[in-house]
Symmetry: C2
Subunit: 343 residues, 2 copies
Amino acid sequence: MTDATAISISDLTELATEILTRGGFSHPQGAAIARTIIAAERDNCKSHGVYRIEGCLRTLKLGKVVPDAEPVLLQDDSAVVRVDAKSGFANLAFELGAPVLAEKTRKFGVAALVINDCTHFAALWPEVEALADQGLAAMAMCPSYATVAPSGGDKPLLGTNPFAFGWPRAGDTPYVFDFATSVVARGEVELYRRAGKQLPEGWAIDADGNPTTDPEAALSGAMLPFGGHKGSAISTMIELLAGAMIGDFTSDEALDFLGTTAIAPRHGELVLAFDPARMSGGRGNPIAKGEAFLDAIAGQGARLPSQRRFAARKIAMAEGISLSAAEMAQLHDLHARGLAAVD
Amino acid sequence: MTDATAISISDLTELATEILTRGGFSHPQGAAIARTIIAAERDNCKSHGVYRIEGCLRTLKLGKVVPDAEPVLLQDDSAVVRVDAKSGFANLAFELGAPVLAEKTRKFGVAALVINDCTHFAALWPEVEALADQGLAAMAMCPSYATVAPSGGDKPLLGTNPFAFGWPRAGDTPYVFDFATSVVARGEVELYRRAGKQLPEGWAIDADGNPTTDPEAALSGAMLPFGGHKGSAISTMIELLAGAMIGDFTSDEALDFLGTTAIAPRHGELVLAFDPARMSGGRGNPIAKGEAFLDAIAGQGARLPSQRRFAARKIAMAEGISLSAAEMAQLHDLHARGLAAVD
């Protein structure tokens, strides 16, 4: 790639922070958003990388996020810590709540972080990784926009509802997965549409509820959950736990609230954390037991999730993040013109 | 069915308890096992119904379960309650731990029940239903025997690792699902073998790791996780949380320990519970919000999980449980001859 520029993680984070703050975010909000976006770009996770900066600014421009929100932490003597994001993006809210979640998890063995009234655009893996880095196991989940039909149904109701899990590994990157509970993320269907390609079977139904491989028909119909009725059940669980239970939007309410899937959705989030040291009750070393099991998976030649990200991260940490000339040009345009550069 | 006998739930529970105690189980153990088995039979969930009685006796006959184990409850000021099943079946251990789990959940918002050193033959839905009946949301999971290859792998390593979830509904049966994280339970493959039928594609691989539709080849090879790499990841999470983390067997260790899949496996179990009233933080009524969402699913004509069980339960509660002459004969034989009637 002759047109690629290598830029250090810290320089790119600073540039992204500047773009976001010049665009109108407070420094704490902009910096937290930038850290998350650049972590994704660093891992070559382009779907959540620098191209999301414009989306965050668009959401701001449309008045659908409070750019200088100051999240408020609420805690009592329970094992639940709550952060009211005050209609800001979720990132700063998570950063505020995570240390308290970790502390409560060490105290109680298991604890929960509830984030309410946040705008959400990011993957969940940065969150479970942050907890795994502290030696904790973690699950994270949230609703999104109603674009997925429940198994046996014919209309969008569930979101793509991501589910993420992290498990600490000794002296290594953690075991981490993070996936949409739909067959694929909506962006994937959009890529097929732009490429003029037919979808694989089993991804979607049209507006009448019939199976379709036409991306246009799929986008005006509904995507399907992964794994049939089992994936549909897990997605429903996410609506109940990370929507209804925490007093926040389910995916249909999130879509009703904003009326479009073109900007970042508004909802809540649920993160659970476990302290393996406490959960094991002195019955051996849980991390060592985990290693033995994960090694047995890898020993079959099966790839553990997130390995591609970790490999890209290693390169980015040594050589900087490689961005194309077009990506750099867009960043410079956003930096120079601010919201005027946002469609 | 001219040969069917209707027997009341309580009479059948009493008969099962007598069979189990005459076979050698202590009364508390036998009664707890009988309650679980008859709950399954009542719901016409035959795979966990009366036919399991012989399996429990077989496990006892082979000396692989302690029939008069007295489970021990361990608790501290954390949100985790632990029950050491003392090598007995899981049922009595759960019954001992569940009230303390419920109490801790109300106190802390979220809490966990860890069961260690138990023998396990039952579905998990009775457990999440018992918690939902008390107004709590719950997740339950456990390893089993290594019979499933991880996605991308070629040898059995994961168990069929069931995952269950329950959510309380106002004035109705709860929202409950409980499924194997393999495409199907192992018993299903066995049914195809007995019927001389080929398996659908995507269920299994042979001993060389190649896809197979031959049930014999599948049984000596490995089953596959549901939903490809996503289901495989969830199953791995279950090994880590409900095996490694709680200081108990992963599915490969469980199989090593007993050396056969023909009797009930030995491992631990993890149950998480949530108090929606506390988790909602005063932001509306979580149960009412859940109802609205579940009604929207049902409003599309999509069936909620467990509805078939609940319908069967209603009939059994009104008319008794219907058993065939062969089933009744086997129960009477087990009752009369005890362990001598067990293969």
